[in-house]
Structures are given as C-alpha cells and as structure tokens.
Symmetry: C2
Subunit: 338 residues, 2 copies
DNA sequence: CTTGATTATGCAAGCGCTGTCAATACTAAT
DNA sequence: ATTAGTATTGACAGCGCTTGCATAATCAAG
C-alpha cells in the first residue's frame, strides 16, 4: 500500500542504501542524487515506516506520557497547557507524544503506567501527578531509562524533575501584598499539608513575612482542603479574628473565589476592606468578577522544559546521572481583588 | 536489555512460537504450558516489542490525534475532556493515543497532520478542529485509512464523524425558556455564521419557537463573535429594543457571563428581569455568580464515541464505506440565571 | 495396538529498514 | 597515466516478532 524505501530507490534510480543514507544523513550523498531522491520521496509521499525503523534503531521518536485516571476525572495536574508545552518541545525535535491511559480496575495501576516503556514504544517517559509505588522507579532507574517527573516532587535527588517553584510563588503572593502595605495577611492552604505544593507555598509566605520583619501568626493560617467550598468557612474564621487580616492569600483560585463571595456576603468591600490573591491563575481567576489577582504557575513552560529535558536525556546531551531538578518561577497577575 | 520472546521461551522451557501463540491466543496452548509461560512473562516483566510486532502485523495499537497548534494556543475544540474520553475508549481496547503536534512555521501545515499516517505509526486518526485542505482527506479516503472527524462537521457524507447535536442544543435552550413562560427570547450567536455550530444552534432555537407558534423575530438575533466582550454591546442592543426580550440565549458561556454583567450594570435583576442561558457548560458557567444555566456539550462522550467508532473501523467491525455520522444530544444544567 | 485428536516443536520466511562490507565508478589533482 | 579521494553500489545480516508448514510427541478412546 504505502510506498517503501524500495519504491523510492526504484523511482529515483538509486540503491536502497543510498536512499537511507540521504534521508538520515549517515553518509555523504552527492547533491544531485539527493535532489533526485527527495523528488521521488515527494512524488510517492514516502515516509519511512516507524515500526521498521524503530526495530533496527531502537528509537521510536515517541515521548510517553503516563496518564493516571481516577474516578473523578484525570489526575490533578494533567493540564492541557502542560501537554501543549510538551507537544511544542516534542514537535520541535520531531517527537510525538504517546499518551497511555491507565487501565481502570486493575490490581496494580502503577505497573500499567510503565507498559509504554516495557513495550518499548517510547524513548522516554514523563511522569506526572501519579502516585506510584517505589518499584516502578527502581525499574526505570536501574535500566537507565530516561524519565522526568513533572509537577510531582520526589524529594531525594534520584530523578530528573521539573516543577513550579511553589515556595517562590508563595513568597511572591505575600511580597506583593506586603509591598502594598498589608501587614496582617491570612493564608488558606490549597489542601492538606501532606502535599509538598501546600507546604512550599506556605513556606514562601512565611519567608516573605520574615523578610519584612513580621512575625508569623499561626492564627492567620487556615487549612484549606480539596473541597473549594471549605473556603467559606475559613474566610469567616479569619475575618472574625479580633485583629482580622486585611488580605487573604488563597492556595487555589477556586478557593479565592469563595473567599471573595464570603467577604462580600459579610459586607466587606473587595479590595478596599479585603485584598485577595489566588493561586494557579486559572480561567476562574480570569473570568471571576471581580477578577482575582493570582499567582501563575508556568504550566506551558513546565511542559516545555520537561519535554526538552527528556529529549536531552534521550539523545544523550545530558548524562543520565547528572540529575537536573528544574524549578520554574511563578509570576503574578494583578486583577481587581488587590 | 529488555527481555525478548526468546528469553521467555527459554525461561518457560518452551519454543518461541508457543510463547507467541499463548500471548496472542492464535492457537491452542494447553493450560499447563500457558501457566508456565505467563509465569515466565511475569518474572521477566516481558512485553512484546511494539516495533517488532507492528512490523509484522502492520498494527501499532495507536490512535493518532492530529493536533493543530495556532499562534494563540491549541486549536479551538481540543479539549481535555475529549482527550479523556478518547483515552477511555482507547485503553479499553488496548490502544494508546498518539498526539502529533503540527510543526510551526511550515508551508503546508495540513500535510503535516498526516505524517502519523504516512509513518504508519497509528492505525487510525482522529481529526478535530483542524482546517484542512481537500487533498489530505482524499489521500486518506482513497487508501481506506480509518479516520473520524470530531466536532468538525463535514457536510457531505464522505467521512465518519462524531458531533454534538448543536441544533438540538439550541432547541433545548429555547424550549427550556419557553416552558418557563418566556415569549421574547434573544439569541446571541457564538461566533459568525460561517461556522456550522453557530448556524445549527440558531436553527434549533428557531425550531423551538416555531413549535411554540412564535414567530421568529430577526431583531432578537444578534451576531456574536469570538471576542467575548462583544457580548456587552449585543446585550445593550437587545435590551434597548422597545419590546425587549425577557431572556437571552448566549452562544457561549463566556458571552453569557458578559450578558449577565451588562444586565446587572443596566439595573436588571437576573433571573427575574432577565433570564440567561449559556452554552458549553464550562467551568465559567459553573463558577460564575450567579451560576449560569448552560447547555452542556457531551465532550467526554464525544471523545469516547469517536474512539469507539474509530476502533470499530480499525478492527473491521464496521465497513469503511458505511459512513456513520454520530450526533450526540446536549443536556442542560440549570443554575441561578433562569 | 491402532487411530485420531490435541498439543508442541523446529524451521524458515518475511515485515521495512539500517548500516556494514567490499567492490566499483567517477572526478580531480598530480 | 597514475593516484587519491569521493560517490555509489549490490549483497547481506539483523532488529524481534508472527505465522505457515511439516513433523513429532502426548494422550484418550476404540
């Protein structure tokens, strides 16, 4: 059906290996013959069969993306923007993205994530947001298979990883408010403190305060949860403090939206009586009225950097053992709530 | 490095072909030997090499998803939910999803989308939201390569396609309001009428009116654009009509949000003075305050159905020429604006 | 013991490509 | 003309797997 390398060779009147050489640049081919060959390629719409090529070169030119699916949709953090960044890095270097979705109802979900690797249908793997047991990592590591952790810190220095600098993000949010003169700043964590992102953001907040010589007041720190509506309660608690905060940093935009609502309900003016800063700069922050000032995680960049890193690893531009831990700075988008 | 079928055969003490038979069910293998083989597979963590297998079977077990990237992000319509639905269908049948991103700055962008097909690295293709010239389709069609159009109507009956039933969606929105007693209903199109989705939604709206014996008043139909802020102007226009509408259907949620804002600004009470229905049931409708009643496009289902359809095509369960045009009904989510 | 069915085997071809080898053709410089 | 270098060639092995074929081992039933 599809043209093979033989067809191209015949069409161009050259030997099969000459075509291969010309296409891969693996040996000198005279300009004139090259032209004839590429002409034939064009005419026949020829592309080397990936399976055949992969079989001999042991390269697929695919980047695997292990996607864990939970009952309530995709695992947190699988964001379109990340995929987009990944795709950009990939296409630039002639890779495709292979999304392998975890099988539902399986006894060992995390083992499944590695099937792409076992089948050898990708040259490297991006692991994001997946809770995985220890074993698969070991497997990858001992076989020196390229992989990058994305948005999923692995505290030891064993794996390459790309992350948003959540600490700096927390710092940024607090610093932003401090510079505006706020001195009592509440903080609602994005989720429980089991999650590194939550801890880091909080730590950044504390660092900013310390830098401004303000003592951290634990009463100003409220524990948020994955349930955005918990934001209502936290806001009420924070605002009913005798020395109430003049600003609240919410660990996520959806929580920030709740903070705003509650504040309005309680009769506060935003931003005059209460300033609010959210996190993640999602569409929620963008479209809420008032628009919510929000710390932006560099999702696109994260995907892009992870892709570039992985490809460097695959192509040997970076030593497998020279562990890279890339931490990307957050930005802040000012809107109406500050 | 990775175990091969030979290793498994040795480990299990059987012949290579027996392993192959056992794994593919292509011949009878006694239970006892099967057990030995799968034991060895388990121990060695063996998975058949995809490239090798693909080379001989001419199957990759990949579904290609051609992703066109424009300057301002991914082409409209590439939605995470769609990918998720696709992934669900794929993983169910042991396929992976191969995302191939269009190369930037290339002279023939649409030709590039077919590279996955030309390289034979996918067994079928999902085409969504890509403006493509005629030729690539022809190419696919004449070679009888399986592909389905997703969310991108191709009016002739040449291609398999999956779509939201926009006409029914428009009908639903109008019917919903009519049942609540509204008789003057404004309609702001989601974009210009070059787009089928816009026409269909509008037609559905008209059909509902007709069914309720209400004459369509062209003055109540405003042309929206891709720029959500245009919603402000349209709203003002519609509300300043001498016989103003008591409800407005906005072609997209973001427009609906603008309609609401403007209405409030002009001193109308929502939903009492003005009811609003949006489209797409995005997070915007969900999180806006007041929450926007919105017509939901079955994105997840669309992805899922498209995946299933494509796989049926690939596996020959459906004739290539028995064109299927799947149109999936929209639902409506009532919130505070009605 | 024979027969027939079932199960397992070795062998070999071949999928489309890469890349090595040794040989040949061509070109340009000495 | 000789030499050196470059460009191109055919032949072929091999990547890991599937599959057809013919053969052989195994076993139950007649």
């Amino acid at each position: 059906m599809a043209a093979t390398i033989k067809d191209v060779a015949r069409e161009a009147g050259v030997a099969v290996c000459t075509v291969s050489f010309a296409m891969n640049g693996s040996a000198h081919v005279a300009e004139a013959t090259k032209k004839r060959i590429f002409g034939a390629v064009e005419r026949l719409n020829y592309r080397p069969n990936q399976s055949a090529r992969g079989l001999v070169t042991k390269k697929t030119n695919n980047i695997g993306l292990a996607v864990a699916e939970t009952a309530d949709g995709l695992e947190n953090g699988i964001l379109l923007e990340v995929i987009q960044g990944l795709g950009r890095a990939a296409s630039h270097k002639n890779y495709d993205l292979l999304l392998s979705f975890q099988k539902q109802q399986t006894d060992k979900p995390d083992e499944h994530l590695l099937d792409v690797y076992r089948k050898q249908s990708a040259d490297g793997l991006i692991l994001m947001g997946n809770k995985m047991s220890e074993r698969p990592y070991k497997d990858l590591l001992t076989n020196r298979f390229p992989f990058v952790l994305l948005g999923r810190p692995y505290k030891d220095n064993l794996c390459h990883s790309v992350n948003a600098d959540n600490e700096q993000g927390g710092y940024l949010a607090a610093q932003f408010l401090l510079k505006k003169g706020h001195r009592r700043i509440g903080f609602i964590t994005p989720c429980s403190l089991e999650f590194d992102a939550a801890i880091d953001r909080l730590n950044g907040y504390k660092r900013a305060l310390t830098e401004f010589d303000i003592e951290v007041d634990e009463k100003l720190i409220a524990l948020g949860s994955f349930e955005p509506d918990s934001g209502y309660q936290e806001t009420e608690t924070l605002l009913s403090l005798k020395d109430r905060p003049s600003a609240i940093i919410a660990g996520r935009d959806v929580i920030a939206a709740r903070v705003n609502e509650k504040a309005v309900t309680l009769g506060y003016q935003v931003p005059d009586d209460l300033a609010i800063v959210g996190f993640d700069n999602t569409i929620v922050a963008q479209l809420a009225r008032p628009g919510i000032t929000s710390v932006e995680l560099p999702m696109l960049t994260m995907g892009h950097e992870a892709g570039k890193l992985l490809i460097s690893l695959i192509e040997g531009d970076i030593e497998y053992d020279a562990i890279q831990k890339i931490s990307l700075p957050c930005g802040i988008f000012e809107r109406d709530t500050t």
